[in-house]
């Protein structure tokens, strides 16, 4: 293989194991790619020194016969929502100016312990609020893919920097977080694989919180196999997170049998929405056909409360966010804009420190929790959330996985939908229901739009059944044979 950056995690693991190249060589190639692709604005902070240092340690471990596992020596990017010991962590926000945590998030620590090498911190929508990576204080991220008109496109969001970095071959994998679709939707827009695990599979400790009952970290990679390998290194019970599930981490890669004969694949009719783009519908039909060809049984499924998911999400997530973001007050860390009183200092700091989208959600969240509105909004939303989860529980009595589109469109141009938040929120229409139910979901690139842009399909599974989701996704991936790369190579 000519270019080390064209490896997958799996092939790089094998190359490192057989001594075809060293971790330092592999990492250096990615460091070079990262610095050559700054026009994408995928990274907020590049950490080449840390990368080379850790790659050197990895080579030493390997030489000493103490390889830490399949991720040892693999260069990865880390979303800037994960706190990283001694490295600037911004959450894409002005309000965390100069914040260097003295601690490492559990997930990034798990990756470190597995030998993975951090290349840098990726750009993202401010506090993970956005679907286009245009709300970052550090500027928008550019999708490595271009449409026929050559315009700059969004990479999706909020994990847009991670998606762009993996898609553009700047990293073999990246961490993302998904609250309502923030891993899966940018994966679809950027032609990569994005896996949101079951809520509780990965620890939230050390990840700046957006909506605590929804936030979940997951891998963003170029193949399903890579997602399986990387998730294995990220997941695990953590006593420091009360919502982390005390379940064992299986060998996810071993679940990729390539065999889905008899697997019951549900097609939820409520996802076939009015005004759905014909090419999304066609993509979905192709996906259904691929699964059928591979021996799966296609079953009609129903999730009757799907249409309530988006409004429910946009009550619960902002409500939690309004409290979670209260700690950014200028008192202890990050930005402080002085004022003549404490209240004025708060107002100055938060007015200047937060962007419009974050402010909008804090206001929505504050409103829905207010005296007199709590029952009508928050409490009702919690009840509807339960109904949505019950829909899935019922559906999974009959099917093993559900197959849906990931996003309602291809990547759009930077600047579009900016004046219409609701249109922006609609990006998450297919991803939000599973978030509310806490279920695992993966986006797999399966085709190109008429405009030559990648499109993904989503597979959803039962709680803590990532193995079945990955097995089905692996088969779908093989059938789709999506091997194009941005810029038309490959």
């Amino acid at each position: 293989m000519a270019k080390l950056t064209n490896h997958t995690i799996a092939s790089a693991r094998d190359g490192l194991a057989s001594g075809d190249f060293s971790a330092v060589e592999l990492v250096q190639a990615h460091v070079d790619a990262m610095s050559a692709a700054r026009d994408l604005n995928a990274f907020i902070t590049e950490t080449p020194e840390i990368a080379i240092e850790r790659a050197t340690e990895s080579d030493k471990r390997r030489a000493g016969g103490a390889c830490a596992g399949p991720m040892d020596g693999i260069p990865v990017a880390v979303k800037d929502l994960f706190c990283t010991d001694g490295v600037l962590t911004t959450a894409g926000s002005h309000i965390l100016d100069g914040f260097v945590p003295p601690y490492e998030s559990t997930v990034s620590q798990n990756l470190r312990d597995a030998g993975a090498v951090m290349l840098g911190k990726t750009n993202m929508d401010e506090f993970a609020m956005g679907s286009a990576n245009v709300t970052s204080y550090y500027g928008n991220v550019v999708n490595p893919w271009k449409g026929k008109d050559g315009k700059d496109l969004v990479p999706g969001g909020s994990s847009g920097g991670s998606a762009a970095a993996v898609s553009a071959r700047l990293a073999l994998g990246a961490t993302g977080t998904d609250t309502g679709g923030s891993i899966r939707q940018p994966a679809s827009f950027s032609g990569i694989v994005g896996l949101k695990p079951t809520y509780g599979r990965c620890s939230r400790w050390g990840i700046a919180a957006f909506a605590s009952s929804l936030d979940q970290a997951g891998p963003m990679t170029r193949t399903v196999r890579d997602a399986a390998i990387m998730l294995g290194a990220m997941a695990g019970h953590d006593a420091k997170d009360s919502t982390s599930a005390p379940v064992d981490v299986p060998d996810f890669e071993a679940a990729l049998s390539g065999d889905i004969k008899g697997l019951r694949v549900g097609i939820p009719k409520e996802y076939r929405m009015d005004g759905m783009a014909p090419e999304i519908e066609a993509l979905w039909a192709e996906g259904i056909d691929m699964m059928k060809q591979a021996g799966a049984e296609i079953v009609d499924a129903s999730l009757p409360n799907t249409r309530h998911a988006l409004p429910t999400y946009y009550i619960i997530a902002p409500a939690e966010a309004s409290a979670n973001l209260a700690r950014y007050d200028g008192v202890r860390y990050g930005l402080r804009v002085p004022g003549s009183s404490l209240d004025e200092m708060y107002a100055n700091t938060r007015s200047e420190g937060f962007g419009d989208e974050v402010k909008r959600r804090i206001l929505i969240g504050t409103y829905v929790l207010s005296a007199g509105f709590y029952d009508a909004y928050y409490r009702k939303a919690q009840r509807v959330r339960k109904l949505i989860a019950d829909d899935f529980t019922k559906a999974f009595e009959d099917v093993d996985v559900l197959l849906t589109p990931t996003a309602p469109s291809e990547a759009f141009a930077i600047g579009e939908k900016m004046d219409d938040p609701v249109a922006m929120y609609l990006n998450d229409v297919f991803t939000v229901p599973a978030s509310l139910a806490g279920l695992p979901g993966i986006s797999v690139p399966t085709g190109l739009s008429g405009n030559g842009l990648p499109l993904g399909l989503q597979l959803l599974g039962r709680p803590f059944d990532e193995e079945t989701v990955l097995r089905a996704a692996d088969v779908l991936e093989s059938a789709a044979g999506f091997d194009t790369v941005p810029g038309g190579e490959g």
Partner: protein, 485 residues
């Protein structure tokens, strides 16, 4: 015992409910592993969680749950096997998260009872509405710098129990009795040290007034900054009188939060801006509902110590003490332990008398608690031994007690040193009586002509001549025989 305030338009009664914040005795905080010791240098007992760093998550301290359940059981309350933590949202510089984790909708402890021991020896039940767990905030210091405030987060995240009473209290005396009893129960249980001066027990007093005979409650004021039992009692009286005045002047009492100023002896309205809080409570998504089992509760119930009410009943039943004496002795666990050690092997009523009448006076005089008493329980026991075996008389015992109080010495050695051993030898006493009779023929005549009261004067004379050491029983018997001739 009713507490009625006379106004110009008639008689008023007061309705009071208390919210007590009791700091849970626990080595570490409610949701973090940081230590809780009082008096450490500022910001030295702060974990990443207490400082609300990005991405930090609360993890419940199981010992605090146990302490809350133990307290609930001590208050004879219903224990809720499922409870939920909520976020109470407000901004303040010493509240790092921007919300306090508390339990609004589903507290861990439901309804219970506290029995008041009133001054006249009577008792009354006061209802407990609920007990919930919550985090304490840090401390703002506004007096360290002319322009800036400083924040100490040592207390941030410390576990509190908020214990809310029913509005069953009717007088300042009730308030005092309630706070003392609650503190006593908490100390017996070892769940809160009850030190109001260190802020480990604080209270807010809800006060309203109404005309005697009314059944509806009127608007109440929540009086804050009441940091001693005495202040709480004062605050009730002052606030009640203020409200009566407002009504009698034709005004209306506003439902509001007021600040007690012990120096000026008044309560003041806090700025309306400060109380216009909408706390936007909602379940904390970082914490799962707290589920405990009945077996867990039962195991804690098994391990409860004897509590003041049960102990009081035992003192009344087994020792024959009055309700008042028993109540006084059990109020502080240390006092009860002291008393029981003294009572063991002695007449329990006599022991109670010595502790309540004599020892308490000494402690009050010296301004020390019973654990620092100059007279140890062992020495007090020895004193009662000396009385019981007639080595000394009751009169001499009081003198010995005074010396013990001043020197802390063993009573036996005081008696030996000062030669205070009682004269029980009837020959020696007889000789002393004979001398007094011989020296005072006029008084002897008075006695014999019917003034028997003068016998007391003779006793005094003989006591004086024997240095108080004559056994009073022997003396009285012999004296009467000899006076009658």
């Amino acid at each position: 015992m009713s507490y009625i305030l006379a106004g110009e338009t008639g008689d008023w009664e007061v309705v009071i409910g208390l919210e007590v914040h009791a700091q849970i005795i626990s080595k570490s905080k409610l949701f973090s592993g940081a230590p809780t010791a009082y008096g450490a240098a500022p910001n030295t007992q702060v974990s990443l969680v207490d400082a609300a760093m990005p991405g930090m998550l609360p993890v419940i301290n199981e010992y605090c749950i146990e302490q809350a359940v133990r307290t609930g059981l001590g208050l004879r309350a219903e224990i809720n096997l499922v409870s939920v933590f909520d976020r109470k949202n407000y901004f303040y510089a010493d509240l790092p998260q921007g919300y306090q984790i508390s339990q609004l909708y589903h507290p861990i402890v439901g309804e219970g009872t506290v029995i008041l021991d009133l001054a006249d020896g009577s008792t009354r039940e006061v209802g407990i509405e609920r007990l919930h767990m919550e985090q304490d905030a840090g401390k703002s210091m506004h007096d360290q710098d002319p322009k800036r405030s400083f924040i100490d987060l040592n207390r941030s995240g410390t576990a509190l129990m908020e214990i809310v009473s029913r509005p069953d209290l009717k007088s300042p005396e009730d308030v005092g009795a309630y706070l003392r009893k609650l503190r006593s129960i908490l100390r017996y249980l070892g769940t809160c040290d009850g030190n109001m001066d260190e802020g480990s027990m604080r209270c807010d007093v809800n006060v309203s007034v109404r005309k005697v005979g009314e059944t509806e409650l009127r608007n109440r004021a929540e009086v804050k900054n009441v940091n001693s039992v005495r202040f709480a009692m004062q605050a009730v009286e002052i606030e009640a009188r203020r409200q009566i005045e407002v009504y009698e002047d034709g005004g209306d009492v506003v439902q509001e939060t007021r600040l007690f100023d012990s120096v000026k002896g008044e309560t003041r309205s806090m700025r309306s801006k400060e109380q216009a809080h909408d706390y936007r409570y909602f379940p904390d998504p970082d914490l799962l509902p707290l589920v405990i089992s009945q077996a867990y509760v039962d195991a804690i119930a098994e391990s409860l110590p004897e509590l003041p009410d049960e102990r009081k009943q035992r003192y009344m039943g087994d020792f024959g003490l009055s309700s008042y004496d028993a109540g006084v002795l059990v109020a502080e666990r240390d006092t009860a332990v002291y008393y029981e050690s003294v009572a063991s092997g002695h007449d329990p009523k006599l022991a109670a008398n010595w502790v309540i009448t004599n020892l308490f006076a000494v402690l009050k005089d010296k301004g020390v608690g019973i654990t620092d008493s100059p007279i140890s329980a062992v020495n007090m026991s020895k004193l009662l031994d000396l009385l019981a075996d007639d080595t000394i008389s009751g009169r001499i015992a009081k003198d010995v007690f005074e010396i013990m109080a001043d020197t802390g010495k063993d009573p036996a050695s005081i008696v030996a040193e000062k030669g205070l051993t009682q004269i029980t030898d009837s020959g020696a006493i007889e000789a002393a009586i004979d001398k007094v009779i011989a020296d005072n023929p006029a008084q002897v005549e008075q006695f014999r002509s019917g003034n028997e009261k003068i016998a007391g004067w003779f006793v005094g004379q003989v006591m004086q001549s024997t240095g108080g050491k004559a056994n009073p029983g022997v003396l009285n018997k012999l004296l009467r025989e000899k006076l009658k001739g």
